[in-house]
Symmetry: C2
Subunit: 270 residues, 2 copies
């Protein structure tokens, strides 16, 4: 197989990473893509850093056996805890959702006040706060953990009044803080973007990292001469628990129907 025909691997704890895959497929419509959702152990957002690093390495090992040419960590929680380890241990280039989103966020921090919305584990890792301050110590960061957003979205309550109440519960304190921009630091959150916008206030710019990740991937493949062009792509989906459940919800995240989903067994991969 030619190097450009090798697939790009995308990994997420569940279904959320499909919002990233959607952007990658849009910008790079000829690339072969292989997606792995660790649905047997979702959500990662409430787990310890140690557990998350172990699971992420098992997933990476699985994708490396699929001969990927590049790995996208399409999960903020996994990325927050594992990106450095992966960039050290992984034999192929690794792109994570964390840095891509942050660069866009910092661009929009005119008043130097930004919010990070994520899972408890992403927020607890402190990684976003650290990177922003390395970049510009003047920026004031307001990190907010929103643990119920993922289960509400997985229940498809995208515009239910309860989802609005929960968004108000998490975000009302931010309304007096004159935030410039907020990063949606979880791949699920774009699905309730209007509700988040209403809760956080209309003037706050909401940043989704998916488009930036796709852009970075394009750049990397161009520079390394491994861009695949003028060919039909092959898309492959793996999950670690019930494929049918994933298939049914996937279209909300991926934007079109996902026809076939395979089962992956990660246990004992290392």
């Amino acid at each position: 197989m030619k190097p450009e025909d090798l697939p790009i691997g995308l990994f997420d704890s569940g279904v959320g990473g499909l919002t990233v895959m959607r952007e990658v497929a849009r910008l790079l419509p000829n690339e072969n893509l292989v997606y792995l959702g660790d649905t047997a152990r979702v959500p990662y957002g409430t787990r310890s850093g140690e557990a998350i690093r172990k699971y992420t390495w098992e997933a990476t090992t699985f994708l490396l056996k699929e001969q990927i040419k590049l790995l996208i960590v399409a999960c903020h929680t996994a990325c927050s805890h594992s990106l450095e380890m992966l960039q050290e241990k992984c034999p192929v280039p690794v792109i994570g959702v964390v840095r891509s989103g942050l660069e866009t966020l910092i661009l929009h921090a005119r008043g130097r006040r930004v919010a990070i919305l994520g899972t408890p584990s992403t927020i607890g890792s402190g990684l976003y706060q650290k990177i922003i301050h390395q970049h510009d110590p003047q920026i004031q960061v307001f990190p907010v953990a929103c643990p119920l957003f993922v289960p509400l979205i997985e229940e498809r309550l995208f515009d239910h009044p309860a989802t609005q109440l929960i968004a108000d519960h998490y975000l009302h304190a931010l309304r007096d803080q004159h935030i410039d921009a907020a990063l949606l630091a979880c791949t699920h959150y774009p699905l309730i973007r209007p509700i988040i916008q209403q809760a956080i206030g209309p003037k706050v710019i909401l940043i989704e990292p998916a488009a930036a990740v796709a852009q970075e991937t394009l750049q990397h493949l161009s520079l390394s001469n491994t861009l695949r062009q003028n060919k039909q792509p092959h898309l492959r989906f793996y999950v670690t628990d019930d494929p049918e459940k994933f298939r049914l919800i996937a279209r909300h995240f991926f934007g079109s129907e996902v026809k076939k989903v395979h089962t992956a067994n990660l246990f004992g991969e290392d």
Copy 2:
């Protein structure tokens, strides 16, 4: 060690089983108890039967090494999928939350119309429906999956308006069904009992299995002459992820402070 001094083991996917442990400790205040919460893989409620049986067996193996004299499966999801397997493979007696709760429920089914509220996996297993119909084929069963109750409770939104809205969302269709009684078939649900009562209607009797489980345990230990009496009990708590997070929320479920929590490693137990 004397047979009566061996501990009773309790197993749950997370923190919910503590509502059962609380009842057992109340009724059997001299018993040594050892609790295991598989917090690294909670929630079980959205996983496949196969995954749940694997996790439950790993947990059982861990508790057997603690030399338990009796096992209480304090998790409806685990119980729905694994009770038969455990009763076959486990060398000590096994008491599960499923049958204990159902007997009380059937007692209250005067108009022969009952509801079962549980996680998607518990409801999907069909076990409750099957056992009720074996008992009395005339009883009409209304099973309702309530996937957001556990995350809302773990966020401690016990009386938040969003929790009421979600309860209405799941239960409003039951209000016209003239239900006699509803089983809270998840050990988390007792913590939002008033909200469930309001959503389902004031006339419906809500059944919690924990008291029945404690009663059954007392009966079993009396009959086998292994009741521990007039001694201080020793309580031990294990979890598979962050002990501190468990410790902080545990008091809501157990009714008093949990001082020390240990970490258990289940991987590779079989």
